[in-house]
Symmetry: C2
Subunit: 386 residues, 2 copies
């Protein structure tokens, strides 16, 4: 039944299975040498998460934890890690494509421990998916394989159109021939091969509906753009796809979100990654990504810049910031990578005006205004926050 | 700047603009005849929503409301409807592609009314999007144009792959050549032309991640299926796309969701539509759609059927129903279209067992089990709820 599976999947799963095996075979060697089995795994703690100013990335530091099978406090976690590694390995060699939810179910069962006295205990391998997800991340960090490289699939929201050809699976796909629709990015974007393209930059749009509008009016054709939407908070595949366009094709990346702390956070995830999952940042983050807008000075202007909105439009379009927005703004302010002059200005202006704005408000001035005036003018004038 | 816009969009927007104009020109004629301007609009009330047993559709009944400009209680709503119609008309003739959010912003402003005495009142056209959305529906019902036909775009989640060629915009797209990715359906699926296909049925999957798995393992190639995901609650475009595949190509449609009342509700939206928006049902619903599973008898079996899960698997995979699930089940039970023997059995079994199950639990028995055993066997045996 695997005759329909792509060649690249077969290759990649073979590589991953071998690498995974080589990492865990160490445990058997330890047992054979009559040593206690121990896993050495990079620590995923806040204190071991370092912001690399040069590379502008959140990275895991050098600290490691030793997970010892014979330590009672660590035995369960040890077992969970080894159980999960074996489930992933089985899936790899059996041509399966599990999701992290599957992996949770596959490993979920009750162990019954019987003491010589006859007394017995029950222990679940795990109860909630949090626990199984956590050991998957341990395995990623330990093997340096991202879960996508282990053929673990997931829900995907990212879409792309543009003058570009790619190879995915056994097919060549022309991203400029998607009609009114778009190409939905695969969950394993590292398996994509970039063939040829005619594009000068990448525009990432937070909102799917705005992506549809810009696509339909021909924005990417007019300005030689690769147009992408993350449909809200970006998933891993969209982040990796954007990073690859930037790193491998040297295309500048501009990110367009609502003018509010949630939009900044989306930008931040693209640019830096999340603190919780800094081990991924090295592969998924795009440190060069620029925040194109909508910025506070687009709304209000400043000494050197005319605002894009009139007084009347501000009155009709601006939304009053909520407490949760203010809270999030203060939180972002404390992040190392927001401690730049431009971001401090942006955040202070927001805190002073207590105002936010949706991209749709810009589109409601006319889609042509958004597509053929606002966006290209800002790019041309380098009017973004880097 | 419109040289990049597709031919079909230009035609469709011309048609819509003319139709919209012909409906509202009546008001000017009334004024010229010195009659009070009145709009006659089909009533969108629960009492005027009828379940057509023959066509298995929720439809609007014959009742109409008269919205009279000179009636103080109706003047505001009258103004809102006419304002919105004029904004949509402007967008149509100006080659715009608004979203419903845009339309809200475009019309949002404050009217100042000055009495001869000098006293003045302020009145907003609308405050919340609910209000502007509501008049858009009135316009749809009044003109019999769906908003998509008026080139109003929206966020889209639906994806498709399969052995089929379609024309969208100016492009021909081969849905069998999407690699590991998929084709993201456009917001205006009525503009799609079906060219040729080699498929025997349509399988709609609630969950995007399960869609990814079945796609990747070659399910649609093996069984000649058009594979679709709605990514949760289906949007209008996905519903319309599925309906067209069923109606125009006579392909049977099977829907696969989690085994819980939320999954049944998703099925119900595909099959019948929502009560609130029954005017759409006639175009968006697929009354022939079959609920393939996961059903309660798949989990527990019954006199004539062996369950797909072992006792041990039930123990590990089943999730206890929550109060909200029970409540939703009781609600669904009261719907006319759930009052069939098969559904009554399904719902009672759920209420008795108070158990639900995710599709992922089936996949965790092995993706090959889900793809090459469970789904095809159920289709072959007509083991679904119609």
């Amino acid at each position: 039944m695997t005759e329909f599976v792509s060649k690249i999947d077969k290759e990649k799963r073979k590589q991953a299975a071998e690498l995974l095996r080589s990492h865990y075979i160490k445990l058997i060697e330890q047992v054979k040498r009559e040593e206690p089995p121990v896993l050495e795994i990079p620590k995923r703690t806040l204190t071991n998460t370092i912001y690399d100013k040069e590379r502008k990335l959140l990275l895991l530091g050098p600290e490691k934890l030793r997970r010892n099978f014979l330590d009672l406090n660590e035995a369960k976690k040890f077992m969970q890690t080894v159980l999960m590694a074996s489930i992933i390995y089985e899936a790899l060699v059996n041509d399966e494509y599990p999701t992290i939810r599957d992996l949770y179910y596959r490993g979920k069962h009750t162990l019954i421990l019987r003491e010589p006295s006859g007394k017995s205990y029950e222990e679940n391998t795990w109860d909630e998916q949090d626990e199984s997800d956590d050991v998957i991340v341990d395995i990623e960090v330990y093997t340096k394989l991202l879960r996508e490289e282990m053929l673990i699939l997931s829900k995907e929201k990212g879409k792309v159109v543009g003058d570009m050809r790619i190879r995915s699976g056994n097919d060549v796909i022309d991203l400029s021939k998607m009609g009114h629709g778009a190409y939905a990015i695969e969950p394993t974007p590292d398996f994509i091969e970039f063939l040829d393209y005619n594009a000068e930059f990448v525009l990432v749009i937070e909102k799917d509906a705005v992506f549809q509008q810009l696509h339909r009016i021909g924005f990417w054709k007019q300005y030689k753009a690769i147009l992408i939407t993350s449909s809200g908070q970006p998933d891993r595949a969209t982040r990796r796809f954007v990073r690859r366009l930037n790193e491998e094709l040297k295309l500048p990346v501009y990110i367009l979100t609502d003018a509010d702390p949630y939009g900044w956070y989306i930008y931040s995830v693209f640019r830096i990654g999340s603190i919780q999952l800094s081990h991924e940042s090295e592969r998924l983050a795009t440190p060069d990504a620029k925040f194109l807008g909508v910025s506070m000075t687009d709304i209000f202007g400043d000494r050197s810049k005319k605002p894009y909105l009139t007084e009347q439009e501000r009155k009709n379009f601006i939304i009053k910031a909520k407490d949760v927005d203010i809270k999030r703004a203060l939180e972002l302010k404390s992040y190392e990578w927001f401690k730049t002059k431009a971001w401090e200005k942006e955040v202070s202006m927001f805190l002073e005006k207590k105002s936010k704005l949706e991209i749709e408000a810009m589109a409601s001035k006319g889609l042509k205004f958004l597509a053929f005036n606002y966006i290209p003018e800002k790019i041309k004038n380098n009017d973004y926050i880097a």
